[in-house]
Symmetry: C2
Subunit: 464 residues, 2 copies
Amino acid sequence: MDHVVGIQYTSSYSPTKRVTFAEGDFNGLPAHVWPKNASRDDSGVVSIAGVSLPELAEEFGTPLFVVDEDDFRSRCRALARAYGAPERVHYASKAFLTRAIARWVAEEGLSLDVASYGELRVALAADFPAERITAHGNNKQAEYLQLCVESGVEHVVLDSFQEIEELAVEAERQGKVQPVLVRVTPGVDAHTHEFIATSHEDQKFGFSLATGAAFKAALEAHEHPSLNLRGLHCHVGSQVFDADGFSLAAERLMGLLSKLQQELGTKLPVLDLGGGYGIAYTENDTPLDVEKVAKDLISRVRAQAEVLGIEAPEIMVEPGRAIAGPSTVTVYEVGTIKDVNVTDEHTRRYIAVNGGMSDNIRPALYQAEYDARVVSRLCDGEVTDTRVVGSHCESGDILIADERFPNDIRPGDLLALAATGAYCFAMTSRYNMFSRPAVVSVNDGEARLMVRRETIEDFLALEG
Amino acid sequence: MDHVVGIQYTSSYSPTKRVTFAEGDFNGLPAHVWPKNASRDDSGVVSIAGVSLPELAEEFGTPLFVVDEDDFRSRCRALARAYGAPERVHYASKAFLTRAIARWVAEEGLSLDVASYGELRVALAADFPAERITAHGNNKQAEYLQLCVESGVEHVVLDSFQEIEELAVEAERQGKVQPVLVRVTPGVDAHTHEFIATSHEDQKFGFSLATGAAFKAALEAHEHPSLNLRGLHCHVGSQVFDADGFSLAAERLMGLLSKLQQELGTKLPVLDLGGGYGIAYTENDTPLDVEKVAKDLISRVRAQAEVLGIEAPEIMVEPGRAIAGPSTVTVYEVGTIKDVNVTDEHTRRYIAVNGGMSDNIRPALYQAEYDARVVSRLCDGEVTDTRVVGSHCESGDILIADERFPNDIRPGDLLALAATGAYCFAMTSRYNMFSRPAVVSVNDGEARLMVRRETIEDFLALEG
């Protein structure tokens, strides 16, 4: 670095940090973090599915989301096998949804979970079969409920007593019977970050199991001739690594299911256990073994059914991140590099890239960590404390807070963050009038533009 | 409430909470938080500048941003007076920028501060005079620097040694001399939230005063014939309430200015002290008195100049939030309402509105607080612990975490959050395929659509 000036100043710097890279292995691409078809050639250039990332950056610009279609589809198939049938697996579209992605999910035979009117619209625009769509939302508005019934979605997941009435009236108005599930908060704490935990009961979703609200809601739903109560739903959290939470929640729901079947004298064939399977964002993470989780869940539900003397329900699940997350990388160009002395003894290198919190809000919002590598060449400098920041006019615009990177990363290098398939493009903002990046899918040596880059003209076109 | 079911369960509920509303005053509109021209009539309907919010919601839908043009312009004028000339005040466009807003700023004679290529493009598209634009950014890329020089912006604020070289080359290429300021980190801690503090030196912006990096950068900039060093810049933080930080930073920069003038034998006429003036988001906040801050700053800089035996520089400032923040409210419609027993003794009411973290990420990102009122009628219920949540599929989608609201708020009521003019629309995302809300400005009994609501078709049009 030519233009680095040391700074001697006290700050909030903490010498305790995560050290991921021993010298020399910065050029690896950890298989449990990077897309299945990512590889680096001898010159250091990283390709995905045979398509060079530097060439994609040249053609489509940066920042750029690159999706490994085969990685995405492989995870669909692995989950389909694990749960015994593809339609039992509902891809949670909130993680990452475009029409192309909806078509992949449809082609793999999976079902889809939507969480809003907009997501349902996009799914239908991709001709996703409505009879394989489950509709969520804590505050479903009239147009959303109307479209759910009109299009004939598989299940509406009831989230409040208000909604039971509103949906019943809407289905009756359309002369239809709408299949429904009741969302239950089972009181299971999945030990995860507060903002993405949905297990505790001081929250906006669902009906409490413990208080009897869920039981009451199911009875109410059953009473409406325009609703067809099909079973129960729960979701214990996001980015969960402790599989016990899923099993415990399943057992609790089985108890309620049995009680309801007895009370109603009818079978409730569906137990939807939501998603939340943790993936590896960094080399040190171990992703949840979804096949083991599936096996455990299925056997525990069967055993529980036997104990309760009922038929085992069909298990449905809703993974989003576990399918989309590892499939995608975000490619940035390195710009300004600065060294800052954060204490008398410690220097931190700041590497700025040409994106930031507008294309990935997760580090700022959830203190999420990511794995980043230079993808345009090999690096072999000594490792040094490094922070990767974005280009927004905000000091909290940090992508990687505290890493050990080689000191030969240079302006013009392409740096990619892995595992950005879930909740990155989906949460892109217009902050600082940064336009949403393009999304490209790659498969078998070919690249396809999935979403074009937004332009300033797109923003201006909205203005009156 | 018809459909409320109590829940008895332990949770992370804390009985210590902010209590804002005594019974009965929920119908007030605190003047230091709400737009200048907001008023409530006897029937309880809130209007801004004579335009009824329920009528705007009916015409343009919700969520809806409503901007009080006169409030915005009045704050421009107050700041212009406080600093002695309108062009010394640079509106920080990152807070909230549209062409219409740029035109208001231009008409009031203020200058503009942009922080990205996109913001500069929008400003120029509004015919904002380039000679009143200051250009920021920690990682200015080639196209941005090129446009700065081409359009002839007033100042480029240099942020790294790399950038000094790049800008000098670009200006030379265009055969121009570009006026510049050097961004200095003065080592002043403005005591604010970590994510929005830019005073400490373990950060991506600027050159350190303490280490001599700022001095060195100024000398380098001065040496380039294609750059015209005009002065220094600093920014001590955001949403700052302690004015001492501004004065201390000013005094430190004056020392450097004097040293540089001596070294270079030339006058540096500009001292740009950035923005960061705290505004009131809740009734309990006291906004920073910007006129008093201006008076203090001007007199302290003059006194310091006298001590140093130099001519006092022209002071420039860059308020964004202090101009745009209080001008705007976000109008939502109330949907699902639920009561949750968070402990055996305590109930929390969840009020869901038809927006959330996609139109206001600040509560989730910065734990920001807001003042919310029903604007479609009077409420007179007993106050009860309440949380206002959005409609996103995420338990962290909270707009107001912990308030005391009347218990007669009902589905269909219009609820508005005040002081949403800064960093709300500017940071809108597409999460859950929620489309960006419309923005309407009101003035003197008339409403104008400033930005139309996005549609699902807008999203789909980007797909290949």
